[in-house]
Point group: C2
Chain length 346, copies 2
Amino acid sequence: MPSAPSVQRSRSAWSLVLCALMLLLFAGCASVKPDPLPSWNEGSTKQAIIAFVAKVTTPGTPAFVPLPERIATFDNDGTLWAEQPFYSQGLFILERVKVLAPQHPEWRTKEPFASVLKGDLKGALAGGDKAILELVAATSMGMSTAEFDALVRDWIATARHPRFNEPYTAMVYTPMVELLAYLRANGFKTFIVSGGGMAFMRPWTEKVYGVPPEQVVGSSGKTQFEILGGVPVIMRLADPGFIDDGPGKPVGIETHIGRRPILAFGNSDGDLQMLQWTAGGSGARFMGIVHHTDAVREWAYDTDASVGKLSPATLDQARARGWTVVDMKRDWAVVFPFQAPQAAHR
Amino acid sequence: MPSAPSVQRSRSAWSLVLCALMLLLFAGCASVKPDPLPSWNEGSTKQAIIAFVAKVTTPGTPAFVPLPERIATFDNDGTLWAEQPFYSQGLFILERVKVLAPQHPEWRTKEPFASVLKGDLKGALAGGDKAILELVAATSMGMSTAEFDALVRDWIATARHPRFNEPYTAMVYTPMVELLAYLRANGFKTFIVSGGGMAFMRPWTEKVYGVPPEQVVGSSGKTQFEILGGVPVIMRLADPGFIDDGPGKPVGIETHIGRRPILAFGNSDGDLQMLQWTAGGSGARFMGIVHHTDAVREWAYDTDASVGKLSPATLDQARARGWTVVDMKRDWAVVFPFQAPQAAHR
């Protein structure tokens, strides 16, 4: 039976060939890395991000940054999610005014409430910071943290954006969500540092951005520990507390993180000091600004915006210091997760 | 040549025996787990800790807690490191007064400085909170965060404890450092929540406890972002800010973490509200109190302590609610890392 050994030999040969093929495929798979930022169009912006991450994560090089120091901070409104036609938290507050109005007949003639109830946002905000604080106090304070948490969870699960008719958790920028994940995959700890209310963001940032509550820094009112009927609660007081905006952002970073970021991303004048603080550290740094240039897929605004103003002085400083300015229309293949991706369209 | 196949067979047999032996050894190694808390004596306290961790980390059981919610908070002074004869930060401040005295001739006759310079701690503290704030302002404020950080790093690297003549970073409780590591190995995120100054702890907690700056919550004064000569700095102002003690601890936890701990450890009345807040959550909880009962290896103190007072009311509440009270003398095989371990010695 001379055929048996020959079959065996040919089987062995086939096995060898198969193994070699698998090894080749394997090596091929390993060398063709998937694009970590598929929602970013090819170009200098995407290159700058990838080059920075490669630089600080390559051991043995001068720019290498040890894991614990890879701190990245992101503004929220206008940087991670949409802020037009108005901050989402503002829309939440206006809706709360309407819900609570039957219990407050006096609001029909009292500003800023009267304007809100007439749908006149401009009139309501004419009272400036005082009017805003009054609206916040009336809608978001004088309750426990657990009660406020429940209100936010309910709103975020049900409310819809006025222009896109999508839930607010879909009004996030796909390229930025990708960037957060890419940074974390490279050992970064990602933080949100926002002028928005800390307690307004924390109920949903973990699910939407992968950023846990303890990595969300924001504005907050004073709170107080109490025991009510044997149950410990933390009450939200009407006293203003900390405003995490402008020069407040480096303060918020120092208070909550205690380390200087090596990468920071913002989109407006309120982020300038965070970017300056980040830039002021030694070693490799990345400062990014999202410039809203896409009136079709999102909005185009900067100098004259009523919300998220980005002045020429800030843009000039960014360009002079070599910060990366994202041109949304040019650099992003997709803006929102509910839109179809497209190549650079100009 | 009949010997060749026979040698081959015996080699195969030996290989089989060896493989089987190795497998058995391997299985043996895997089943004999090393003690995760070797510095804790066997007994109900150690059992309670290990049983709690096993309970919340076993998937598919009612008490299972998902990874992101495994938050553990620890007081620092008297819980993780020694607080006798006086808080370490107090000793740091007293030393700073002496260093700065030549620049302040008026301190020789002005309280609380005069008492400090005479070595009369009791006299210096007779002025209460006002005196303490004055000492803090004079020694730790009016400088940038970077300058204060450098002062603390220098002090912690050189100062020695008055009784044990050891650096303060060796004045930590080995069983508690072990517990922090054990919790982290089981997916917990460990936080410090201390009445001490946040900026006083952050320069060394990562190295000593494995707790990074962003997981250190503490008291803090107001700070302010400034650009001095083109360089961005954060200045420490003399204005009092947040006191992370007593009812301030749940507030600090909510502000910095935004999640309720499932395990908390303290040692004094100032930790009571943190323990109540932790206990008030749903699901499995662990509340621990370090009771200082060992006058030989450390100190024995509670009700009458000038620092770290633990009143009978707090101990009664702990016992009534089934919290775990660590009897340092009985439960700890070793207190400080520079002492030789010993079995329970009573």
